[in-house]
Amino acid sequence: MSVVARLIEARAARRQKPLIAFNAATLRLGGKTIIENLDLQVRPGEFLCIVGASGCGKTTALRLAAGLYRPTSGAVTFEGEEITEPRREVAIVFQDYGKALLPWRTAAGNISLALEASRVPARERGARIEALLRKVGLPGHADKYPTEMSGGMQQRLQIARCLAQEPTTLLMDEPFGALDAMTRQGLQDEVLSLTQASETTVIFVTHDLDEAIYLGDRVIGLLPHPGRIGIELDVDLPRPRDQLATREHPEFLRLRRQLFDFIKATEH
């Protein structure tokens, strides 16, 4: 076997081994079963979207993967190792950017928080911060406080802080839920280009079905009370995705129909 073939095979093997795996994960909080027997594998480099009616446990599933919760029974693993605490290679983008940013630190200071935690020497931070701000489309806003920025800018800033961790995995909890449609579309494309280039694995929770299909390689629909998988769809749409062409693609419309029917059925 040639070296190239072996490399390709090794890479394929790595790809098949799940990065994050839920093995019969169950979570009970205050006597209520939030998630029951969840089995789910996330492949390295995959963009996985989780949708579902509100209260179906999609945010909870994300928090299990983040290590912010531990399952009552079953296990959630990262590279085969049980997740007990948040880890540096996994970054979390919270929905409420207004609460997740430090209001007393400027944009640069907020990014610096992650660099300080990763023990990046002070003299290297400036250049790193500048590069990250440029990456998320906020050049020249280093000295602004979060309260001086729009919601879209604040969410970009939170994403920049997460990227400062140099994560292999991004966990995003309805990150664009509070933003207007135009800002949301712009950020969708930016997240795609940021994560596809670096082959970052993403778990993306949203209640917007179109968004899930537009972004994802795979979409999981959860059933509520208790949360469990109700539908699983592979999204075979060409990349790079395009806000107009992708959304008009017959396959997009077919998946959209399927997902809407599923959600509608769960609402009773």
Partner: protein, 255 residues
């Protein structure tokens, strides 16, 4: 500053000037005996005389020392204890009832206890001032630490920040507005208790000066001391506001 703000400032100065003029008028007309109430002219003269002889400056420094030492001790202890209690739900539940008993206790009630235990000493004054001034700071710190946005602790966890980093970079800056507000309240408490301790224990300071002047019917000196105490309270409060504005610049950035 805009025009309206300037007008308000001018108006407030005019009101103050009006009070002084009324005071002068009352004394000129001898509505109150000059033995008890000197005019602003005589009070001012006493103030100048006191400073040029050096007596008053010494007393002022004495009071400032009592006030600052007590206030600093209260601040350090109050912030440390408040942080400890405020950052743990369990501690809050255990300690809160005791605090609720101690807090409304009039500080004047513990002065005899302090005198009995520590004597008429500087140490007694420091203890009494610190004991009185600690409450606003500690309670504000407890509140500040208890009210830290839980999401920020999750951010800290996901960044795997150390415990000291979480306190220094998340909890303390988040609680800082509350802490500073508490420290500002305590500043007044510290000044009041400094004067009380000086009067009761005969410690060198403006309180003692005021007491002696009153006993000797030197009403102009008495008023000079009172004016100086008022100015001390006013100026320290302004200094504190400036520090607050500087440290909390981020709060006003958006507005």
């Amino acid at each position: 500053m805009n025009r309206a703000a300037i007008l308000w400032r001018v108006a407030s100065v005019l009101v103050a000037a009006g009070f002084i003029a009324a005071w002068q008028l009352v004394t000129n007309l001898k509505l109150v005996s000059p033995v008890f109430l000197p005019g602003p002219d005589r009070a001012w003269a006493a103030l100048v005389r006191g400073f040029s002889s050096g007596d008053l400056a010494g007393k002022l420094i004495g009071t400032l020392e009592h006030m600052t030492y007590g206030w600093f001790a209260a601040s350090i202890a109050g912030i440390a204890l408040g942080a400890l209690i405020g950052s743990s739900k369990m501690m809050r539940a255990y300690v809160a009832p005791s605090l609720e008993f101690l807090r409304p206790l009039p500080v004047s009630a513990i002065i005899p206890v302090a005198i009995a235990m520590l004597g008429l000493t500087q140490g007694m004054a420091l203890f009494v001032i610190a004991f009185g001034a600690i409450w606003p700071i500690m309670l504000a710190t407890i509140h500040g630490f208890a009210a830290v946005e839980p999401r920020l602790y999750e951010v800290a966890r996901s960044l795997q920040m150390s415990r000291t980093a979480i306190i220094g970079k998340i909890a303390l800056p988040s609680a800082l507005p509350d802490i500073l507000a508490g420290m500002r309240l305590s500043l007044t408490v510290a000044l009041i208790l400094s004067v009380v301790c000086e009067i009761l224990a005969g410690l060198d300071g403006l309180g003692h000066w005021v007491l002696l002047s009153a006993r000797a019917f030197r009403s102009a000196d008495l008023f000079a001391g009172v004016i100086l105490l008022g100015a001390t309270g006013y100026l320290t409060s302004i200094a504190m506001s400036l520090v607050e504005q500087r440290l909390l610049a981020w709060q006003t950035a958006a507005r």
